[in-house]
């Protein structure tokens, strides 16, 4: 255990000390001496962000429900706390037992976004754990990682001992049970060889990579007998019966999401071509209404939260949404527990649903057309027409809402300036829809805001072959829209293009990027996802000093024959399908929602179809 007096001293000097004390309602502290496997879970960002992550609550309760295992949390200390810790010589510790992270058996990171990677290195360093996998022997914890970015794990291959690809509810326990068996005579290499046999586990050290002269990947081959050439992602077949937490830790301080989060279903059927989540979480699997009501009951009871958020990739698509909502409203309205939907489909159905859950129209409504013109929306397969937008927004205004937020991306493939200006057109259209109403029918104070983020091509999407726009090009387009908006009721926000550039580098990066990541961290880069700490200049310096060509990773259009660093992973959806979708995109052709008819993405045994279709 760490020196508590040292901790007490520095807690008085930092902002929001509650970030570091633990002891929350529903937190679990076991006697670590009695545990067979001690697992430290880390979301590599500050407490308030990490505690809002649903995956954390799932894994935390899954592991702690086992008598022999303990799961404790460690987040990235805020900048002020880190300074005090380094000053006074306090190593990083877990919240529950205040035990040094280095004393745990396994330290697991969740990879939610690429710009959290420097925080991962920082957490290892603050724990006095060597950063490189090869420098860690049996005296150090095994370092593992999972989550969406694990679908291209290569930039972190030198730092992580093994990755967990896919859904964790079953495989995490398999890994811990295997570790338990090895514990008495633990030899790292032998454990790694054994764990590599579990489906979904990728051990980077068992593969050799080679590159062509032009820098592209030449080959990735297993360098040991018995190691699989391809790693198949793990999915849970029946999410109704799978483990789902019935308790959530209730933080003392305000976090990003102060509410019960309930997953309605996994996967998505829309097939939007920019979206990685829509591809990697296939096939779609829904929870039953009964199961959801049961979970809601237990979660509200154990937390006392005032709001239940129905989260999924596109919650409005849930088959029995109306029934679920009316059952939830029946049960919880009097108890002042509200229901919320994180995102809305662009149609009147969504508005109807919203009418039921929001008796007072206090929030704004958010829609995501993503592109400013129909032509471009067809390219990205976002099945939304201008008519849909007009209907949805008009209906919303009629029902009393007056604040609208529109999400867009800039830099989509085949984009023209005309497409970009379409953002302004749509925002103005929304404004007109409001003010064209007779004066007495205009309810509330109107505002519309358009937010544009910079498109980052992601692995395992039809756009994985596409080059990103350059930072200059992004800025030119952003100013094009900005300067075209002259109405002060119409707001335009945009994201940092330089951050998006870095994101694009790592998203489709290879193992060579570990040098860059290490150098950037050494130079002091951390909390890159926070605008006040992102140091683009240091990253550029780091790229120069490590001879890394960022444009090679971010801006380059890929050849259709190119081998990608992530091709060794099998996500079910075939590369052939993604390529077909890419070509359709270039031709401006749409693909239907697969609920309406199978599109042949390659997923075997998909419940949407009911029977297997070959590829």
């Amino acid at each position: 255990m760490i020196d508590k007096q040292k901790l007490d001293k520095i807690l008085k000097k930092v902002e929001k000390p509650a970030r570091y004390i633990g002891m929350e309602q529903n937190s679990v502290q076991k006697d670590l001496e009695e545990m067979y496997v001690k697992f430290a879970f880390s979301f590599p960002d500050v407490y308030e962000v990490g505690m809002s992550h649903l995956g954390m609550h799932i894994l935390y309760n899954l592991i702690n429900n086992e008598d022999d295992f303990a799961c404790e949390r460690v987040f990235a200390p805020w900048v002020d706390m880190e300074e005090e810790m380094r000053d006074i010589g306090l190593p990083l510790f877990t919240l529950e037992s205040k035990e040094e992270v280095i004393n745990f058996d396994i330290l697991g990171f969740t990879l939610q976004y690429e710009m959290s990677y420097t925080n991962i290195l920082n957490i290892l360093d603050l724990s006095n754990i060597p950063l490189l996998s090869k420098d860690r022997d049996e005296n150090y914890p095994i370092i593992i990682a999972g989550g969406p970015c694990a679908y291209n794990p290569e930039p972190l291959a030198d730092f992580i001992d093994f990755f967990v690809i896919g859904e964790g509810e079953e495989v995490v326990l398999e890994v811990l049970n295997l570790y338990k068996e090895h514990k008495a005579n633990y030899i790292k290499d032998i454990f790694l060889e054994d764990v590599a046999k579990i489906e979904g586990i990728y051990v980077p050290k068992f593969y050799d990579v080679s590159y062509n002269d032009d820098g592209t990947l030449k080959s990735m081959k297993a360098n040991r007998k018995g190691i699989k050439e391809k790693i198949k992602k793990r999915i849970i077949k029946n999410i109704d019966t799978m483990f789902s937490p019935e308790k959530m830790i209730v933080p003392y301080i305000e976090t990003v999401h102060d509410r019960v989060s309930m997953e309605l279903f996994r996967g998505c059927t829309h097939g939007c071509r920019f979206c990685q989540a829509g591809m990697i979480y296939r096939p779609i699997r829904e929870k039953s209404v009964d199961r959801l009501m049961e979970l809601a009951d237990k979660l509200v009871e154990s937390t006392g939260y005032e709001n239940i958020s129905l989260s999924s990739l596109s919650s409005c698509d849930y088959t029995n949404l109306r029934i679920l909502i009316s059952m939830l409203m029946d049960k919880y309205e009097d108890r002042k527990v509200g229901v919320s939907l994180p995102s809305l489909r662009l149609d009147s159905f969504s508005i109807d649903v919203l009418k039921e859950i929001e008796k007072v129209r206090k929030t704004g409504l958010t829609f995501a057309p993503e592109a400013g013109s129909q032509r471009l929306r067809d390219v990205i397969n976002k099945g939304v027409s201008e008519e849909d937008l007009i209907n949805a927004v008009s209906y919303a205004f009629k029902e009393g809402w007056s604040r609208i937020k529109l999400y867009f991306m800039i830099g989509l493939p085949t984009e023209t300036d005309e497409d970009v200006l379409g953002i302004k057109d749509l925002a103005y259209l929304v404004r007109d829809l409001f003010f064209n109403r007779p004066k007495e029918e205009r309810l509330g104070n109107f505002s519309v805001s358009a937010s544009a983020s910079c498109f980052v091509p992601k692995p395992f999407t039809p756009f994985q072959w596409v080059g990103q726009n350059s930072v200059d090009e992004f800025m030119r387009k952003i100013y094009l829209v900005k300067n075209s908006i002259k109405d002060n009721k119409v707001k335009f926000n945009y994201h940092d293009a330089t951050l998006s550039y870095l994101e694009a580098i790592f998203a489709r990066g290879d193992r060579k990027l570990s040098k860059l990541l290490l150098k950037a961290w050494e130079k002091g880069c951390k909390y890159d996802g926070w605008s006040e700490y992102f140091k683009y200049d240091l990253w550029i310096e780091a790229m120069e000093e490590t001879d890394t060509d960022g444009e090679f990773y971010a801006l380059r259009d890929r050849d259709t024959q190119e081998l990608f660093p992530w091709d060794f992973i099998d996500i079910g959806v075939s590369k052939k399908y993604l390529l077909r979708e890419y070509k359709k995109a270039m031709a401006g052709e749409t693909t239907n929602d697969c609920r309406l008819g199978c599109t042949g993405c390659g997923i075997p045994d998909c419940v949407m179809r009911g029977e297997s279709v070959g590829n």
Partner: protein, 212 residues
Amino acid sequence: MRLFQRCFNRSQIPIKYSEGFNPHPKFSIAHPLSLGIESEGEFMEIDLAEEISIEDFIDKMNYSLPKDIQIVKAKYVDGDESVTKLISYAFYEIKLLISKETEIENIENITREWLKNDEILITRYRKKGKNKILVDENIKPLIGNVVVKGFDDHNFLVINALFKVGEKGNLKPMDFIGAMNRDLKLDIDMDLVYIKRLNLFAEENGKLYSPM
């Protein structure tokens, strides 16, 4: 506040809510403590929409509350009596690490002599118009009884002190310690001061009593 709000929800206590678009539960904590101070005795007022038995209330709340925060006693009061306005004194246990002086008697003496002064000044920021300016304030009238108890097992000096609290005069323990450090030259480790509020009191006719 959030903690209690969630507890009311979890234990389904029939708390009254304010009117309007953003209803919030009607309760308040008397003279809330600054961050970092421990307590053994705090007071809270709650408006209930319907009456429940005191036993029921305490049981339900304590089941929901973290085991280190528990309801000790509860009672119904009439109408407009505000427990916050009633309370005027706070009783603290303070633990300090000092480098100079290890004899308890000496410490008692110099403390007693120091407290005989009519004036003990500290400088505080006070609002003047739009700005904040530094002013000298005499904290002597805000100090009730101070007793030097002795050293504990970890060599911390333990002091019990009664300070005024509320609108008619408020003394923060750290301000007192700051003045003590400056005047008594005991070389207190200001980073390692442990403060615990033991109780809150009301006063009538020169006598202290608990609002309960």
